[in-house]
């Protein structure tokens, strides 16, 4: 089943659903009954906003600092821990690193399989964020100004069907490069132990290849 087939099946199925006239009437009726609140024009808004701001300051900031400490510690060690069983992490009780870009996906998995990327030389100004996703992949994100590199580690061989634009061989590694939309570049490659999916932003092809070359288990 190709991606186009899936798209067509979904299009056909979804087209079979539509709002009935009765539902439209119900919605319009509800809108008439429920006058739109212009909450922002009310003094209460200011009071609630102030309360929320204070709440954020008292609750969020300390947690953020705590998260930052975890990240800095991870960066110092230049090591990430990967739990292949992290699919089973409870989303409610999982420890969340709030500052990750995809907050709802990142969980701090317990250490089971250490994967060292110590040989990856990072610029001094780089910020490294590590975490494990609920899908069992690990992310290492390095940002420097607008440049960004993100690595996903996986024990499962990634399918190369989307990355077969131009296979290259770098130091014996077969690398599938993909130039996505905008400035996003992606590469899929494997080492002896792991499969990597690398996303980069604002990297030239040469820089991307150098980066791949520098990554070791």
């Amino acid at each position: 089943m190709t991606g186009n087939n899936i798209d067509t099946m979904i299009q056909e199925a979804v087209s079979s659903v539509s709002l009935t006239d009765s539902q439209k009437s119900q919605i319009l009726h509800a809108l008439e009954e429920k006058p739109v609140l212009h909450f922002r024009s009310r003094p209460a808004f200011l009071l609630v906003s102030a309360a929320v701001l204070l709440l954020v300051l008292f609750i969020y900031v300390p947690r953020h600092e705590e998260s930052a400490a975890i990240v800095q510690e991870a960066a110092r060690n230049a090591e990430i821990f990967w739990n292949p069983l992290s699919d089973s992490i409870d989303t409610d009780s999982g420890s969340v690193l709030d500052m990750m870009p995809a907050e709802d996906e990142i969980y701090n998995a317990s250490a089971e399989l250490p994967v060292s990327i110590a040989s990856w030389e990072l610029p001094d100004t780089a910020e490294i964020i590590t975490g494990c996703t609920i899908t069992g992949r690990c992310h290492v994100i390095c940002t420097e100004d607008e440049r960004k590199a993100e690595i996903e580690l996986s024990a499962v061989q990634p399918s190369s069907e989307d990355f077969s634009d131009r296979p290259s061989v770098i130091n014996g590694r077969q690398v599938f490069l993909y130039r996505g939309e905008g400035d996003v570049s992606q590469a899929v490659f494997s080492s002896e132990n792991y499969h990597y999916i690398l996303h980069t932003y604002h990297y030239s092809e040469k820089e991307l290849l150098n980066l791949i070359d520098s990554i070791t288990d």
Binding site: A13, V14, S16, V17, S18, L28, L31, G180
Partner: protein, 152 residues
Amino acid sequence: MKPFTAETILNTYGDMLYRTAYSMLFHHADAQDAVQDTLIRYLQKKPSFNDEEHCRAWLLRVLINRCHDLQRQRRHTETADDLQIVSEDKHLYVFETLSKIPMQYREVLVLKSLYGYSDTEIARMIHRTPSAVKMRMKKARELFREAYDDRK
């Protein structure tokens, strides 16, 4: 573009919004609520748009956020309890398959399949990076294939 009335929005984009919401929630009443809340949001904000596409994207973004809220609120397993209303078996089959896919994958699949949005456009809509959207799309299609084959 001048702001539309609620009725105009509903007549122009109602089906699109409802289909999208239903594809994410599989529940007619919740989908209707999501559309209604999106209209309320529109009437509150009265945003100005450059063109129809801009308007459509804004409405979809609000709707998707609302769908996430509704899903969190109801906190029950997605059993697609209204699926029997869909008449044709093959469509029921597709909805049942979609309902097996986690929300974050389902939303990119629906946005791509129904509206042909690019990774970048979807990324903007769901506040993720284009590469994250690309990976989710790939995973979403894998999950769809697996779920579809399992049901055969």
